[in-house]
Every structure is written in C-alpha cells, then in structure tokens.
C-alpha cells in the first residue's frame, strides 16, 4: 500500500513527459486480487485463469513500455552528451585564452549556459536511473504479492528475466553520468571568493527547467529512504535501511 502511494507521489513530481511511463502498480494489484479471489469463490476456473493471463500480459507489456522508453531516452542522452562536449570544446577554442577570439566575458557567458545545461542533463540521466529502479522495485513487489496470494512461483524466474532487461541494465547511462560529473569538475572548477564576486553582475538564464529536475531528484531520494525503512514484510530480499541524514532528522512519519 505504501509503495503505491509513494510511487504515485514520485510520478506527480516527475517530468511531465514521463508521467505515463511508470509502472501501473495499482492496476496490477487489482489483478492480483482478482486472481487470488478466483479459486476460492464459486467462479469457474476460466475466469481466474483469464485474470491470470491478463496479469502476465500486463507484466510483459509494462516491461516493454519500460524498455522502449528507457532505450529511447538513452539514445537521446548519447546524442546530447556528445553535443555538450562539442559545445564545450567549441567555446574553449573560440573564447578561451588560446582560442580564436579570446574573450573572458564571452567565455564565461557561454560557459555559464553550458554549465546549467550540463547539470540539468546530468540530473535527467540520474532521474532515468531512478525511473528504472523504481519500476524494478514495483515489479518485484507485485510479483511477490502474486506469489503470496496465489501460491505461485512466478517471482523468482520472472525477476531474473527482468534483471536482464534493457531498462534495468543501466550501465551505459551510469557511465555517461560519471563522465558528465568528470567533465563538470574539470571544466567548472570550484571558484574561489574572487571568482564569485565577479560573477555577481552577470546575467544568467533562469534555471526554471532545472527546478523540476531538482525537485524530482529530492523527491526520489526521500522516497528511496522511506521505502527502505523497516517494514512488516521485511525479508531477506529487502534492502537495508538507507541513511542519508543525520539521526536528528531521520525521524519521519510513516
């Protein structure tokens, strides 16, 4: 129940284009309930069998949905990653100290834009990773419910398949994220006091697009932390609690 609610919250905070790409957790839970209530009532077998088939069908189509969305996003990221690097290079060779038209003002201005863009880009990639993870978690939970309710054995083999799905194999995105971080660290080194004061008067583009990413990221972290707190169904398959904050602040209402 809690997961469903958290998932819903997460979806609310997510980037608008992503809203319908998440797991239909609620629907699947309904199906599981339908299946498990089948045999015990006087309904004939085909009905519960039908619900079961529908469940499996929905599982598969959800996974397809995840895969398609994920792979497409990944493709975009690959393209944008390269373009960002190109932009940086161009700015350096144009406005940089050794460039064609060295100009500190222009350099800073362009770099400022790039910085915002690259940080948002980084954020989106991380959110995609989060997307992958939260859907995986949802799948694992719904499979567990299924097994529990129907006495079936779907969970273990199914989850093994899921682990190999494109949407869960996030190695490439992860690598892009790290590269991004490295680039940011290299190109936008930590400025000292002097540099800060200079930037003061500069005009910068608003970071409104970044706000939603920021919110989403914070929401994701909080969600993750909450989900990993101890629960009644804690088992060997559960993840350990996540401690992100000082103990003072870790008291959250359940």
């Amino acid at each position: 129940m809690k997961f469903g609610k958290r998932l819903k919250n997460q979806i609310q905070e997510t980037l608008p284009e992503w809203r319908d790409k998440f797991l239909s957790y609620k629907d699947m839970k309904k199906l599981v309930r339908l299946i498990s209530s089948g045999p015990s009532t006087s309904e004939e077998l085909p009905d519960s069998g039908k619900a079961e088939a529908e469940f499996i069908y929905l599982l598969n189509s959800e996974i397809d949905k995840f895969n398609s969305f994920f792979v497409e996003q990944e493709e975009d990221f690959i393209i944008r990653h390269r373009e960002l690097k190109q932009r940086i290079q161009k700015v350096i060779t144009t406005y940089g100290p050794n460039g064609a038209q060295p100009s500190e003002v222009d350099y800073n201005k362009e770099m400022g834009r790039i910085r915002k863009d690259i940080i948002n880009f980084h954020g989106e990639m991380v959110l995609l990773e989060n997307y992958s993870n939260i859907n995986y978690t949802g799948l694992a939970k719904i499979l567990k419910k299924y097994d529990k309710r129907t006495g079936g054995l779907l969970r273990l083999p199914f989850i093994q398949k899921v682990l190999q799905q494109p949407f869960f194999t996030t190695d490439l995105v992860s690598k892009l994220v790290k590269e991004c971080e490295d680039t940011i660290d290299a190109v936008f080194p930590v400025k000292d006091e002097e540099g800060r004061r200079e930037e003061k008067g500069e005009r910068k583009v608003a970071m409104l697009p970044g706000q939603s990413i920021f919110r989403n990221t914070v929401a994701a972290l909080v969600t993750m932390q909450e989900m990993r707190k101890g629960s009644s169904t804690y088992s060997h398959f559960s993840l350990p609690p996540l401690n992100l904050t000082d103990s003072n602040y870790s008291v959250l209402p359940t």
Partner: protein, 503 residues
C-alpha cells in the same frame, strides 16, 4: 509527503536566520570533507553473519566501482544491438555467447573512444573519488548558506504562479521570515536537499576501506558470479559485450520466455544505441555534408553496420538534428517557453552567485541520488543472485532427496501404514514431495531457517495447500545450505525409525 513537509517546515523556521552575502562567500570557501556514502548496513536490520556482511559489502563496492578497463571494455567497442521484445523477455542468448575474450580484442577501440573530445581520462581514482570523502570545499555547510537558497529559490518556485515581479522582490527582501504557507512548503525542497546531503554516519569509513580492496574484490566477484551460473545466464554486468564497431552483433533475436504463455505483444526489433555507434553515425553524417544534407540512406550505407536498418538511422538522424538546433536544455517545449519569460524577469533578481550556488546544490543532490541508485541496484542484483543460487542448491538437494524417498517409501508402504498416520497428524502441513520441493524452495527465500518440524513435510504423500511462512525474517540465509541438508538427515532419521519400528 505532506506530513513530512510539515515536519520540515518547523525545522526550516529555525534554520532561517539572517543571511549575509559575505557569510555566504566566506563559508563557501570552507573545506569540509563530506563522506558521501551512508552505510547501508545498520544495526537495525538483521545482521548477516559477519563474514557474509563483509563480503557482501565488498562485492557491492566491487560492483559499483568496476575496474576502469572492464567497464570500458563492456561499453566501448560495443555496437548497438538489437533485440526483439517477444514476451518482453529479450534474453541475450547470443550475447551470452560473447565471452570475456571479446573484451581484449576490443582494446584498440577502448583507447580510442576514451580519449575523444574533452572527456577526461577516467582514472580509477576519479571514480573512487566519488565514494571517498571528496574535499567538498565548495559545499555550503552552514545553515546560513542554505537559508539564502531557501529564500531565493523559493521565489523561483513561485514563478509559474506569481508572475509579477513585485511579489518576488518583496519575498526576497524578507529576511528569514516566511509569510505564507506556499513559501514554506517550497523552501522545504531546499531543506530536504540540504539534509540529504548532510554529513553521514561515522561508519562510512567502511566504504572507503572497502574501496581500497576493489581490486581484490573484483576478481573474487568475477569468480563468484561465474561459479554458480551456466554460461547462458551471463549476468547483467556487461550486457553489451559484442564484436567490433562496424558489425552489429545483434540479429533480431526473438526469444520467447518460457515462463510466459501469452505474449500478445508484436515483435518489434528494438535498437540500442551506444556512444561508439553514435560516433560512427556522426562521422558518416559529416562525410555527407552535415546533419541537414545527409540522408538516412546515405548514412546507412556509409556506416556499414550489420543489422542496422534505415528506420533506425532515420529516427536517430531526426533526434540528432533536433539536438543540434536546440542546444541542450531540458525536454518539453512548454518548459522552454516558460524559461524564456522567466529569463527576462528573473535576471534582475538573481545574481550570478546565487544561481551558481543553486546549480551546485542541484548537482550535489543529483550526485547523491546517483550514488544511492548504484548501490541499491547492486544490492538488488546481489540479492536476486543469491536467491537464485539458493533455489538451485535447494532443487539439487530436493532431487536427490526425492530419489531416496521413492526407494524408502516403497519399503514403508508395505508395513507401516498406521505409523504413517501418526506421523501425519503431528505435522501441520502436508504436501506432496515433488511439489513441495519447488514451493518450499521459495519458502526458504522467505522464511528463516526451517525448523525440523517442516522436514516431515517431505515425507508426506498427500497434497494440501501449503501455507507460506512469509512473515519470518530470514537470517543467516547465506548459510542455508544447511537447512536442506538438515532436513534430509531429519527425514532419514524419521523414516529410518519408522522402518525400524515396523520391523
């Protein structure tokens, strides 16, 4: 969520004090080394036996910081591979047949791709830098620093609703007072962000130590991963290992999963791009005179990638063109429009420093989430891996046990029917042996070490719905090789004694 926000509201009230820019600037130069990783293994939750815990941590670390070479090997020199989504299960049968040897043949590509453009040499230390306490000299620790962001950024957040500039100016002039609920709520985001990036437990050093062992752990991990598995199930670690660039290893493999009956989903070859493939694409495009002049057909021909279709190239070209003429910003045209408006009004309000700081905070939070996700993912992989291994072990045990049972039970049947009845009554659940094997296999995953009582389940012949004991916590599962063995022994004893009695 709401409740949490309220909690945080009270906190944020306390923390918003007077901010001075000089403070901001001064403290910004502070170097506070923040250990970034929390410890995932706490006292609260059931402890695995120590040795297990350590090795688990090790393997996690090894997973999350794979050796430079391996990572590159898996992801570079790789071609986008295609797979169909028959039942949503696109197993990598042909991928798995791409063994490790391929890594090394790709060495030349590795060095190529890693040094293009600006991307820095990704040295080992830079990776591990993520986990170690990075000198976060830029990171604002003081309350004051966050309070500015709370105030300034909250007016950011208000933008979509409160367009008039005056509002925001009024807000930003309020030092530390949050007049409205809305503002309070919005500043919570910064509060959360701050708390999420705070200092962690002192037990984080664990991770740093473990990180030093990455080398060792890696080799351990590799063998651990390979030992229990048949080559077919080559795990997710390197899903994209393939032949060299020009050749797409992927055929349109449509593999139907055995566990799904009805697919109903049409087979669609899905293409998975990689940076290397994209590089190849860009080269082809440039050769043809740029993204505007190049045609999908021409690019396809130039790329000479097996299995790549014009459809793939076409859609990729479209994305490429879009990316070039709308230099990187977040997706969504609606957001773009808003940002244009914001640009005009916000510039007067936001100083460069504040924006820089906001971006920095955003970056920190993102980094944090990324790390946590990596850890979580590796844990999940590990958990499932272990589950699978246990299942396999259990099934093996089951099989040999069943074989034995069959011979013994045929002996029993002759003489000990009344005795069997007695034994049946003493047990709660009665299950048919072969069925119980698989089901209780699942049980093992969910239950604690199986008590001896349940061993009697095995010798039952009648079928009855089994009640799962999911509520039991699993402790020391790692050592759960023993329960099956115990059970066998227990059964032997009970059966043997029955036999004796009947004699």
């Amino acid at each position: 969520m709401r409740k949490i926000m309220e909690e945080y509201t009270t906190l944020s009230f306390q923390r918003l004090g007077a901010r001075q820019l000089s403070n901001l600037v001064a403290s910004g130069a502070m170097s506070s080394s923040l250990p970034v990783l929390p410890t995932p293994l706490e006292e609260k939750y059931p402890k695995l036996p120590d040795s297990q815990q350590v090795s688990l941590e090790r393997e996690i670390m090894a997973n999350s910081v794979p050796p430079h070479a391996t990572q590159l090997a898996s992801n570079s020199g790789v071609v986008g591979h295609m797979f169909s989504s028959a039942s949503g299960f696109t197993t990598d049968l042909h991928f798995s047949s791409a063994p490790h040897e391929r890594h090394f043949t790709n060495a030349p590509f590795i060095s190529q791709s890693s040094s293009d453009g600006i991307s820095l040499p990704l040295t080992r230390s830079s990776h591990s830098g993520v986990f170690q306490s990075r000198p976060m000299s830029h990171y604002p620790r003081e309350n004051n620093n966050i309070s500015w962001s709370a105030d300034q950024l909250q007016s950011f957040l208000d933008f979509p609703e409160n367009v008039p500039t005056q509002n925001n100016q009024v807000e930003s002039s309020n030092s530390g007072i949050m007049p409205s609920d809305d503002n309070t709520k919005r500043s919570d985001w910064q509060e959360w962000a701050d708390q999420l990036i705070r200092d962690d437990d002192p037990s984080t050093p664990n991770w740093n130590e473990l990180l030093a062992d990455t080398n060792v752990a890696d080799t351990e991990l590799e063998t651990a991963y390979q030992a229990p598995k048949p080559p077919q199930n080559f795990l997710v670690q390197q899903p994209q290992v393939h032949q060299q660039i020009p050749v797409l290893s992927g055929d349109l493999s449509s593999v139907a999963s055995p566990s799904s009956s009805v697919t109903g989903v049409p087979n669609k070859p899905r293409m998975r791009w990689t940076p290397e493939l994209h590089e190849c694409f860009v080269e082809a495009v440039n050769q043809l005179g740029g993204s505007e002049r190049a045609t999908p057909k021409g690019v396809l021909k130039l790329m000479k990638v097996e299995g790549l279709t014009i459809y793939h190239v076409k859609s990729h070209l479209q994305k490429y063109r879009t990316a070039r003429y709308r230099p990187d910003s977040s997706e969504g045209s609606s957001e773009k429009k808003m940002s244009a408006i914001e640009e005009m009004t916000s510039l007067d309000l936001k100083t460069g420093i504040e924006i820089t700081e906001a971006l920095r905070l955003q970056m920190e939070v993102q980094k944090r989430l990324h790390e946590q996700l990596e850890i979580q993912r590796n844990l999940q992989l590990r958990i499932e891996e272990q589950g699978r291994y246990l299942q396999m072990m259990f099934e093996k045990q089951c099989k040999s046990h069943n074989d034995r049972l069959k011979t013994l039970s045929s002996n029993l049947e002759e003489s000990s029917a009344p005795l069997l009845d007695v034994m049946q009554h003493s047990a709660k659940n009665e299950v048919e042996p072969t069925k119980s094997c698989a089901e209780t296999g699942n049980d093992i995953m969910d239950a604690s070490a199986i008590p001896e009582e349940s061993s009697r389940k095995m010798s039952r012949k009648q079928k009855e719905p089994e009640s799962h004991s999911e509520d039991l916590n699993l402790e020391g599962v790692s050592g759960s090789d023993s329960p099956p063995i115990k059970r066998v022994k227990a059964d032997d004893r009970s059966v043997a004694s029955a036999k004796l009695a009947s004699d």
